[in-house]
């Protein structure tokens, strides 16, 4: 019984994988509407009711299904995180859109990404920025992401396998930085490699449930501050009391 159910599920997933490209485009459009809906509902926490239009256009363009494992392609345009193996996930599209929007990326920007993961965020950044530098610490993931990014034809992404703690000094400073995992602290070298006026985003929480985003801003005088954004509509904490 259990085995039969499992087989049915697998069958459904494989069938979804063979969706035509037009179906994927429709799915992406639907996803964008879902993201827009989430943005409207969380407007008071993220500080805006509408994300950067360039970001939304990019989300509409980048084929997320190429960055998820074959069996999960049918779920690629659901607004949810998905496992990509090696204990890692591809983030929820809403979070990717929000992070990219918070970074206010300009076409001339140099962007650094710590933790390539599936490569999806790097692809989004590559559409928005001039040059993207991405570092992944897990060999297998780095190779897989590199393969997909090359297949998608991204020429403005430089990839490296290695330790992201020290950033990429040879190409520093960066206008924007995305750090996908920072459990205890923000590495001082990354703060140093952020340009004055630059922005860094770090998602904080467990892999499947991003709890908050940290936006690190370095002003023109080099002074650093952080802003924590809770992208979830969950207030007021104490009802009328506040």
């Amino acid at each position: 019984m259990l085995l039969a159910t499992g087989l049915c599920l697998t069958g459904l997933m494989t069938a979804s994988a063979s969706l035509a490209e037009t179906d994927y485009t429709k799915s992406r459009e639907k996803l964008i509407r879902s993201i827009e809906q989430d943005v409207r509902e969380t407007a008071s926490f993220i500080g805006t009711g509408k994300l950067d239009e360039r970001v939304m256009q990019t989300m509409l363009k980048v084929p997320r299904h190429e960055f998820v494992p074959g069996l999960l392609r049918g779920l690629a345009y659901k607004n949810q995180p998905l496992p990509i193996g090696h204990g890692q996930t591809i983030s929820q599209p809403y979070i990717v859109a929000l992070m990219s929007s918070l970074l206010s990326v300009k076409p001339t920007d140099r962007a650094l990404e710590i933790g390539t993961g599936s490569g999806y965020q790097a692809a989004i950044l590559a559409e928005l920025a001039g040059q993207v530098f991405t570092i992944e610490i897990i060999d297998e993931l780095a190779k897989q992401a590199s393969f997909v990014l090359d297949k998608q034809g991204y020429k403005n992404i430089k990839k490296r396998i290695g330790d992201g703690y020290y950033g990429w000094q040879a190409h520093a400073p960066f206008d924007v930085i995305v750090v996908t995992a920072a459990a205890g602290h923000i590495p001082p070298p990354l703060i140093r490699q952020l340009k004055p006026g630059g922005r860094m985003v770090i998602p904080v929480g467990s892999r499947f449930m991003v709890q908050q985003l940290v936006l690190v801003e370095k002003d023109n005088n080099g002074k650093v501050s952080t802003r924590q954004i809770l992208p979830v509509k969950f207030v007021p904490l104490t009802g009328k009391h506040d």
Binding site: G87, I137, G184, H185, G205, S206, M209, Q211, S225, T238
Partner: protein
């Protein structure tokens, strides 16, 4: 059909050894699943698996007539099946890729979870079938069978703890298999002696030989077969994927599996809450993982103080900047970062307390030179439980540091909700404050969670502790700061001085930390560097200090009421009324706000209720169809209530007493070993004693007398145990252990009588109900274990004890009409 020869006695020894291995297996599974998954999932999986006991009751009810004439074969086969399934079901379940975190996203996860349940309930099903069938066959010897069962289980609890100290958890599995084979060999011998296999001497020897061989073969199985397959989402799994990372050693104890990880290519850099302005980075570190998560780091120290400068950039270094610290006590020292922090600040006398001896040993031996001999020179190191040490210690300190030990990931996912912690209770804080010198500080650091939870809960706890100490200037005695990811709370027995507050402001401004509260703070000073939507920490702290504090706590969306020794669930922040709101946000990240640990406990309870209902109702339907004569409805209902009540009450009291005695014996493992073994062994002796009531047919007298003693003793203990412990806490450990056993003995002795008296009576008047109530009792134990935790979270352990006493009284009421004398 149930013909027993005159000299035939039940197979005591094999029952005892079987129970021993079953209980050891149950505890071991908890350990194994805590390592490969997380503690609360271990709890969920094992609870459900234990329903195998209940299911066997149903199975025996339905197939009693077929199984009973084949008793010797069925009994032996079930023991052997237990042995094999204990190993195989675990190995297969490891191959099922269940990920707890995906359960809200992936419809396939519940199916995988169900597969794990089914697999792991099999071994318990076989054990319960073997013992349950023995109850049915030897209806006149129920007391002694139950005694063998309990005495075996009691020994099993001690055995598994001893094993976990000496071998790795995955190897312990082999010993349990071997023990099951030993039970099978004993069974062969006992069945032969009881005339059941008398004519087959050759067969006996063949079987003994094969079983012996099997028992030995398990030890030469490849190590890779039993190797633990950790969830890929645990900290250790993630770390090992990084180039260069490798486990260099593993050390086991019942407290946890310690894995030491080195990475010469990409070193660890553990510095929780490092300032945004920090320019110094941590030197080389070695990661120490407990149960594959909760990392602490051993930091390389070559005597050059400057390499430790990063430690001055953590929020926990605040007290060193407020006044001169000469004596510091570090509680939960782990890898020793806080000891190094004290060294960096040139503290003369450092005392360090760490519960896990193995971590101390690591730093003193393998990493002696690497760590700069921190635990060898001028640091007093104590391998003790923190509160036990504080109570027994007579020294006073300038600073007591309570170290941030839990991992960020687990803390942020609410995974500790079910873990009792006596470190963060009101009473604990009072004890720490009592050990401070005048003007000294108690410093406690926590991870920042948003919206604020534990930081505010800790603040509320500190207020209650100061209030209990009859402080009149509470608002003057607290300081709370936060970095991006950590908060540090300082508590004093006296008011903070103007000079200290000046130093505080300098400290936070230099490091871009935020002040969340200090005496005289203005709202515009809050939320400057690490900006959140509104100054929630400041407003929370102010509300907690104000007149409407209770009102604030009640309306706050998380449970931030202070934890106490009676309700030691500091990490539980869940509130039921918020659940609909969070679930409505499921697709939008709202699930992250769920304190998953609590909810999983509640789900486990629901599942158990559902399965128990099926297990209990199924045989009743069978009785109805087969029109079994004595299935008298009144007896059915009363017997059901009786066995459910005593099953629930037994486990309630056992669990509550383990918690009560942790405060007395100080060490959780010692408490579990002493209390669990005492309860099981003395209940076993009580069961033996119950034969007297059964032989004299004084069922009613036996039950009433036992319950009377239980209720009186239970109430007496609830009233006086706390006070008695306060006076006796200074006794040597061995005396405290003896005293604990003496205290538990009378209670457990009487508790052990109720089941066999009830069963014996039932087997005389409604024998077909015996397997059914065996199943009911099994279900009650499972439900009881989950319910007691839920009740303790909400009402405290004292309530759990009273509830148990009420259940025992209910058992007396429900015994009317069928458990009568004569």
């Amino acid at each position: 059909m149930n013909i027993i020869t005159q000299n035939e006695s039940p197979p005591w020894f094999s029952i005892a050894v079987l129970s021993m291995s079953a209980l050891a297996y149950e505890i071991l599974l908890m350990r194994l699943f805590s390592i490969i998954q997380w503690h609360h999932f271990a709890y969920m999986i094992i609870s459900l698996a234990l329903l195998g006991y209940g299911a066997s009751g149903t199975f025996l009810s339905l197939f009693r007539n077929y199984l009973l004439p084949r008793y010797p074969r069925v009994y032996l086969i079930n023991i052997i099946l237990f042995g094999f399934s204990s190993l195989l079901c675990y190995l297969i379940s490891q191959q099922i890729r269940f990920n707890a975190e995906e359960i809200f996203w992936d419809a396939g996860q519940p199916l995988r979870l169900m597969a794990v349940y089914i697999l792991l309930s099999l071994p318990f099903f076989f054990v319960a079938t073997a013992i349950g069938l023995s109850f049915i066959r030897y209806q006149n010897d129920i007391s002694r069978i139950y005694a063998a069962d309990l005495l075996g289980a009691g020994s099993g609890s001690i055995l598994v703890i001893a094993l976990l100290f000496s071998v790795l958890p995955d190897d312990t599995l082999r010993y349990i298999f071997a023990l099951a084979m030993l039970a099978a060999m004993l069974a062969c011998w006992e069945l032969y002696r009881a005339d059941l296999y008398r004519s087959r001497l050759r067969l006996l020897f063949v079987m003994l030989f094969v079983l012996l061989l099997t028992m030995l073969i398990v030890f030469i199985l490849p190590k890779s077969w039993t190797e633990l397959q950790l969830s890929p989402y645990k900290g250790l799994s993630q770390t090992l994927r990084v180039t260069g990372a490798r486990v260099v050693s593993e050390h086991s104890s019942p407290l946890g599996l310690i894995s030491v990880v080195e990475n010469p290519v990409i070193p660890f850099r553990h510095a929780p809450g490092l300032s945004l302005n920090a320019t110094d980075e941590p030197p080389e570190q070695v990661g120490v993982f407990i149960d594959g998560d909760a990392m602490t780091a051993i930091t390389h120290y070559d005597g050059d103080r400057q390499t430790l400068a990063y430690l001055d950039q953590l929020s926990s270094s605040l007290p060193y900047h407020l006044s001169t610290i000469k004596d510091v006590l570090i509680l939960g020292a782990g890898g020793g970062a806080d000891v190094l922090q004290a060294k960096y600040h040139k503290v003369q006398h450092i005392s360090s307390v760490e519960l896990d001896k193995q971590i101390i040993k690591l730093i003193r031996t393998e990493y002696k030179n690497f760590s700069g001999r921190i635990y060898n020179d001028n640091v007093n190191v104590y391998a003790e439980e923190a509160r036990g040490f504080v109570v027994g210690d007579e020294k006073n300190y300038d600073l007591i540091q309570l170290v941030l030990t839990d991992s960020f990931g687990a803390a942020s996912a609410g995974l500790y909700a079910l873990s009792e912690s006596y470190l963060y209770t009101v009473e604990a804080l009072q004890e720490y404050l009592a050990r401070l010198k005048p003007g000294g500080y108690l410093a406690i650091s926590r991870w920042i969670k948003l919206p604020p939870r534990d930081t505010l809960k800790l603040f509320a706890t500190a207020i209650d502790a100061l209030r209990n100490n009859e402080s009149h200037q509470i608002a003057q005695q607290l300081v709370l700061i936060r970095s991006l990811q950590t908060s540090t709370l300082l508590i004093k027995n006296t008011s903070f001085t103007a000079h200290e507050l000046l130093s505080l402001n300098r400290f936070v401004n230099e490091r871009s930390f935020d002040v969340a509260y200090y005496p005289g703070m203005k709202i515009d000073e809050a939320n400057r560097y690490n900006i959140i939507s509104s100054p929630l920490f400041y407003s929370g702290a102010m509300s907690l200090l104000g007149d409407k504090r209770n009102d604030f706590m009640q309306r706050y969306k998380f449970n931030i009421e202070p934890a106490t020794d009676d309700k030691p669930y500091f990490f539980n922040y869940f509130k039921w009324r918020v659940l609909p709101e969070i679930l409505a946000l499921k697709g939008r990240g709202g699930v992250s706000l769920l304190e998953s640990g609590y909810l999983i406990l509640a789900t486990t309870l629901l599942q158990s209720f559902f399965l128990s209902f099926i297990i209990i109702i199924l045989p009743l339907m069978f009785f109805k169809r087969s029109k079994i004569r004595s299935s008298n409805k009144v007896i059915n209902v009363r017997a059901f209530i009786y066995f459910l009540a005593i099953g629930l009450a037994f486990i309630f009291i056992e669990i509550a007493f383990i918690q009560k005695f942790i405060r007395f014996l100080h060490h959780p493992i010692l408490s579990i070993a002493v209390v669990l073994a005492s309860f099981l062994i003395f209940s076993g002796l009580g069961s033996l004693r119950s034969r007297r009531f059964v032989h004299l047919k004084q069922y009613d007298t036996g039950v009433k007398l036992s319950v009377l003693i239980i209720v009186v003793t239970g109430m007496g203990y609830t009233a006086f145990l706390g006070t008695a412990f306060t006076y006796l806490i200074g006794l040597p450990v061995i005396l405290k252990v003896v005293l604990s056993i003496v205290l538990i003995a009378p209670l457990a002795y009487c508790m052990g009588m109720l089941f066999p008296i009830g069963m014996s009576r039932l087997s005389a008047i409604s024998p077909e109900l015996v397997p059914w109530v065996w199943g009911v009792n099994g279900c009650a134990s499972v439900l009881g274990a989950i319910l007691s935790t839920l009740l303790a979270i909400h009402f405290g352990f004292t309530f759990v004890i009273f509830f148990a006493l009420a259940l025992y009284t209910l058992a007396v009421v429900s015994s009317a009409g069928w458990l009568c004398d004569g």
